[in-house]
């Protein structure tokens, strides 16, 4: 726990102070320090079609329906390339939120870590290939919960 904080502090101090200089001068090692570590990016989860399969891959458990997750999405997306999505929840002790787009080639769009002190709220803009369910998954007290909302996506109007 202490080690993690020290590592975080070091990263934070060097990142914040030197990032600006590093970017312009090509000091690669310092710049790399400011960059997040992508080695733990959940590659397999991002390459899984289907909502249930993706949830299983991400969390190793099923998600239970919850009415305590509120999703703010358009009824009909004005353009499937940029759909504003907002999710928040009143579930307690949230440590993670994930956004899944059921009909996309791979269902997982994004997952977010919610550290202690951060509100269980996320606003993002997503791509949706076609009319689809959008599923928000919330990890609360170590258990997975979900809510679903459908978004209509149309292609080929007269707008060119």
């Amino acid at each position: 726990m202490i080690d993690q904080t020290r590592r975080g502090l070091l990263k934070g101090v060097l990142g914040a102070g030197v990032a600006g200089i590093a970017l312009g001068s090509g000091l690669v090692p310092l710049r790399a320090l400011a960059a997040p570590d992508a080695s733990k990016w959940p590659k397999k989860a991002f390459a899984t079609p289907g909502v249930d399969e993706t949830i299983a891959e991400l969390y190793g458990m099923e998600a239970e329906e919850s009415d305590k997750i509120s999703m703010d999405l358009p009824t009909i997306a004005q353009n499937g390339a940029v759909v504003p999505v907002k999710v928040e929840t009143s579930l307690p002790n949230v440590t993670g939120i994930a956004l899944l787009v059921a009909k996309n080639p791979n269902a997982l769009a994004a997952t977010f870590e919610i550290p202690k002190g951060t509100l269980p709220f996320i606003s993002n803009r997503l791509k949706m290939a076609e009319t689809t369910d959008v599923v928000a998954v919330v990890i609360s007290d170590g258990k997975a919960y979900k809510a679903t909302q459908n978004v209509k996506v149309t292609v080929g109007g007269c707008g060119g």
């Binding site: 009909i76 004005q78 390339a81 292609v155 109007g157």
Partner: protein
Amino acid sequence: MLKTKIISVALGVALVVPYVLAAPTPEEDRKAAVEYYKQMFPDVQINDFVNGQYALNEDRRKQWESLQDFPPYEFAVAEGQEMFETPFANGKTYASCFDNEGIGVRQNYPHFDQSRKEVITLELAINECREANGEKALRYKKGDIASISAYMASTSNGKAFNITIPDDPEAQAAYQDGKEFYYSRRGQLNFSCASCHVQNPGKWIRADFLSPALGQPASFPVHRSKWGELGTLHRRFAGCNNNVRAKPLPAQSEEYRNLEYFLTYMSNGLPVVGPSTRP
């Protein structure tokens, strides 16, 4: 350029356009248009017409407001400002070509140049400034021209459009030419601009939602989600012509400049809100 033909489109009392002895003046046209749209959409605040479809559809408006909260064109506008402020190789800047150094002037474009006898749009003026100072002209539909135009538009945010048509037969002819273009059917689909934007605003055409003509130029250049970037008004004219399967004209062609002159005059009094986002 001007053909003598009688154009009559059934639009309701206000906008019948016969070329008879006493043709309506541009100001009469504009007042008639405002009355027409006010009657069609009595709940819309006059200044909200500049927001097009978003003044008429709540679900779409919410998506637009969400995007406008942190618009994707912010990077382009910042770059536009930087380009605007950076001197040319000869040491001069864009400021030297424009009134008020180019700040807060968007609402006066396009204007009719009486010595050259043609309509000057903002993008044309930007490129003429470049060429007069030894720089290459920019392409007219997207990229740097759109960024610079967007920056300049942003400095006029909220200012009322103030397009003038001098008492000069050539200027009047340019206006009439633009108006004629607007109401002429074209393309395999045989639509005129008016078919959608005068007769059917607030309705769906397949998956798109139609905006009224009133206020259309006010939000340009626009960042369309479809384009993923900013585009100029003439880019949109070409796109719309393409959509009705008509041959698109080159950006900044005389026809499109006259069309812009007519359309923007119609929006006199409404505020500049460009750049903005659209689907």
